[in-house]
């Protein structure tokens, strides 16, 4: 086939696929709903949530995890478009990192050193490590499916970004169950769980995002 014939054929095809932003938004909503159902079946919101909301540490967990989800979303939406500059989005990741970092410093200042270890180890570490990745499966899958409709040119990085977004959603849900509210707990166990999901995304990326 001559290249000219191909060009003429392409020009005749006027069907343009749906904008990637819309596809991604739909996928994220669907993934979050499924993740929330998994979370409700598996754990559910903690019983003293009303009281907990009046503390500082409990609501702060959501500030951090939601900031992570927003940064992940922004990273996904730039990495799924060829030629888009992902640097600004990558910089957004500093926000959740700084939030939890300053919270850890404050916690170390207010809590006597004898209280550090028990708060860090908490009582839900293993649940945290298994629940966040489990809840993240659905949003990770739906986001990766949405990204297949776009055109990520760095599939491993794009997959890792999908992992961060899914982990942000999963951590937000899980945070409403977990009774370990200390930033010392969050910075260790949430981070490990989030890194696991991001690594899974980075591994999956080159396998499922090729086009």
């Amino acid at each position: 086939m001559r290249t000219e014939d191909l060009i003429n054929t392409l020009a005749v095809d006027r069907t343009v696929d749906a904008a990637p932003g819309r596809t991604l938004a739909l996928a994220l909503v669907a993934g979050t709903i499924i993740g929330a159902i998994v979370f409700a079946e598996m754990l559910g919101v903690r019983d003293d949530v009303g009281e907990a909301m009046r503390t500082v540490r409990f609501p702060f967990k959501f500030v951090v995890t939601i900031a992570l989800a927003i940064a992940g979303l922004s990273l996904v939406s730039s990495l799924e478009r060829p030629g888009a500059n992902a640097r600004a989005a990558a910089r957004l990741l500093i926000i959740p990192a700084m939030l939890i970092g300053s919270a850890v410093l404050l916690e170390l200042m207010v809590v006597p050193s004898s209280g550090w270890a028990p708060r860090m180890i908490g009582s839900n570490a293993m649940i945290c490590l298994s629940a966040i990745p489990t809840i993240a499966i659905a949003p990770l899958v739906t986001v990766l499916i949405a990204m297949r409709h776009a055109a990520p040119t760095a599939p491993a990085r794009a997959g890792a970004a999908a992992g961060l977004l899914a982990a942000g959603v999963a951590a937000t849900l899980y945070a409403s169950h977990c009774t370990d509210d200390s930033p010392l707990f969050v910075v260790i166990w949430y981070s490990i769980a989030i890194a696991l999901v991001a690594a899974a995304g980075a591994w999956l990326g080159p396998r499922v995002l090729r086009w």
């Binding site: 086939m1 054929t9 392409l10 020009a11 343009v16 904008a19 060829p82 888009a84 086009w211």
Partner: protein
């Protein structure tokens, strides 16, 4: 591209035709640097044009088109080389700036990979894509010839082109 997305067929054809020599020059340059036969350049050009076309919804109207085209061209070039088992270390510098001095040689056939793949497209999609690409028919003529509605022809064409892109991905050269 904005005009093309709004349905201006002529503008779209002109854009693709203008990009072609640049893509061709880059494909040739990279292939010859890798010591690969430059006869394959046209196959890469055609696959890249198809990729640009099928992913044009990922271009943001507010962004310049250069980096978008460059990123897709580079991705397709690396992908092709990787598929052939060569080490892919490719840089396309300022692809769009290269426009004026890009050599436009009249070698448009390559190894006919596209034609071969189009021949193997199944069913209605295959019939539609072949009628339009090889016989130069338009939507209306194709609809009459195959006894389909114009809408069905449009859908079959788009799906057929997507199927073609998938075949490139798994095809061996």
């Amino acid at each position: 591209m904005a005009a093309a997305l709004d349905g201006d067929e002529t503008a779209y054809r002109r854009l693709l035709a203008a990009l072609t020599p640049v893509l061709r020059a880059n494909a040739r340059r990279t292939l010859s640097r890798m010591g690969a036969p430059t006869a394959d350049a046209e196959d890469i050009v055609q696959e890249t044009l198809l990729a640009l076309h099928l992913h044009r919804h990922t271009w943001r109207r507010s962004s310049p088109i250069g980096p978008w085209v460059t990123a897709i061209a580079r991705y397709k070039l690396i992908d092709t080389l990787r598929r052939r088992g060569r080490r892919a270390e490719v840089t396309i510098d300022d692809l769009v700036d290269a426009l004026p001095d890009a050599a436009d040689q009249e070698e448009e056939l390559g190894r006919q990979q596209a034609a071969r793949l189009v021949e193997t497209l199944d069913g209605r999609q295959g019939e539609v894509v072949r009628a339009i690409s090889l016989e130069g028919a338009d939507i209306k003529e194709t609809a009459t010839k195959l006894g389909m509605s114009e809408g069905a022809v449009r859908v079959a064409l788009h799906r057929g082109l997507k199927a073609l892109a998938r075949m490139y991905k798994v095809s061996e050269r």
